[in-house]
């Protein structure tokens, strides 16, 4: 099964759910689903900034697996990080997300 994750909540979504659950499982190839993309809203977008240690791990996994990494463009502009994301991470809105995923669409979109 192919899935896409939308990181919309801001509790421990990145530091716990992504960094301690999803990402280690992806690194160990035992996540149980093919993750075709991740989309980050609000403060979650900081994970895609160059130098973020979780982001660096995510970048490696995304490069290996061809996974889309995109952050909400308005969220990034508001935080002045739109031009500070690491290579391979993009900014965009829903039309960009759907277009980017159209070549490899997920079976499920999971909002976290």
């Amino acid at each position: 099964m192919k899935v896409a994750y939308i990181f919309a909540t801001q509790k421990h979504t990145i530091s716990y759910v992504l960094a301690k659950m999803v990402l280690p499982q992806l690194e160990e190839d035992r996540h149980g689903a093919d993750v075709v993309g991740m989309f980050f809203f609000e403060d979650n977008a900081y994970v895609l900034v160059k130098g973020n240690p979780i982001g660096e791990r995510l970048q490696r996994v995304a490069q290996e697996k061809g996974m889309l990494l995109m952050a909400c463009d308005q969220c990034c502009y508001e935080r002045e990080i739109a031009d500070k994301l690491f290579e391979g991470a993009e900014i965009g809105c829903f039309p960009d997300l759907y277009k980017a995923l159209s070549g490899n669409p997920p079976d499920q979109v999971i909002t976290l």
Binding site: D73, Q74, D83, E90, I91, C93
Partner: protein, 150 residues
């Protein structure tokens, strides 16, 4: 009057002039959404379309060859709205002749923080502006080019 060096974000040719200061996308987006909801002006340009369903159309109020007011209709891509607003501010109060000289590169420089993958919106914005300026020039010929006959 204290001059502001260009490296501090002002246009050396027009120090202090609104619209030539380097602005944030976020700031221009909010202003652009307000301008987008404003009244439609007498000279309409063509609807210019880009990728992803993006569209932009300017309209102008021109008097004596000078842009008095600018408005636009635009799809709600934050980067495109911000570029349209920055451009509207930049050309308000200047002649059509000067307005058509604004380049995509000028526009890119006027907004900080836009990643290169989104800077193609500046080309679309300039294309839309050039379209409305051509229309305005047709409708309001340059007064200096008028010939008088006895």
């Amino acid at each position: 009057v204290t001059s502001v060096p260009p490296e501090q974000g002002k246009d050396a040719a027009h120090p202090g002039r609104p619209g030539t200061r380097r602005r944030s996308v976020d700031e221009c987006f909010d202003l652009g959404l307000r301008r987008r909801g404003g009244p439609w002006l007498p000279v309409s340009g063509p609807i210019c379309a880009g990728g992803n369903g993006l569209e932009l159309q300017f309209c102008l109020d021109v008097a004596d060859g000078t842009v008095r007011r600018v408005s636009f209709k635009v799809t709600t891509c934050i980067t495109l709205v911000a570029y349209a607003e920055a451009l509207a501010e930049r050309v308000t109060g200047i002649s059509l002749r000067d307005a058509i000289r604004v380049t995509p590169s000028d526009l890119v420089k006027s907004l900080s923080g836009v990643p290169s993958s989104k800077q193609d919106r500046a080309v679309l914005a300039i294309r839309a502006l050039q379209g409305v300026i051509c229309e305005a020039a047709r409708e309001t010929p340059n007064p200096s080019s008028r010939r008088t006959y006895p």
